[in-house]
Amino acid sequence: DQQVKQNSPSLSVQEGRISILNCDYTNSMFDYFLWYKKYPAEGPTFLISISSIKDKNEDGRFTVFLNKSAKHLSLHIVPSQPGDSAVYFCAACDAGNNRKLIWGLGTSLAVNP
């Protein structure tokens, strides 16, 4: 059973538009959430995170929103750029649990010029 779910395996958007990637989780013990980006043949790279005490965190073009009651978070990228094309992983952990991250299956984003 997937504790972290990314229900869209792929997403395609036009350059300059907004990309919205969604993630749902089932474990109410999770209190820290992260988004990682992965290019082919590379390891995941950290993008942005959010603690459960917040509902929004913004870093440049990237914003993560957390809705704890719905156990849902989303990553917004605006404006999207072709270089953003990658697989995006949502990950979650119980901050007291050694940062053992539980990952979703990823969403492959394609930003078309």
Binding site: F46, F89, A95
Partner: protein, 114 residues
Amino acid sequence: GAGVSQTPSNKVTEKGKYVELRCDPISGHTALYWYRQSLGQGPEFLIYFQGTGAADDSGLPNDRFFAVRPEGSVSTLKIQRTERGDSAVYLCASSLSRGSGELFFGEGSRLTVL
């Protein structure tokens, strides 16, 4: 370079053989993690080291898997009697401390068991 370094980048072996995968974390990072990523899946936690000791090895799938970090820096993941199902990308990550949320990943070691 200053990032997490993993060797080999690719390893092809035969069923039943022994394999070692090495991870050199970012200098000064006390926390080290091994994850495994199979095709079409997200990374799956294997083991976490804080310093030299394995603080959490609950993700190791069975006793054929073992990892060490004798001096609190470089770590080696050891797989005995490899099986075809062990084929995956093995990712190593490090962080400054247990409290740091950001893990820095290496490029992974792709293991193929024939």
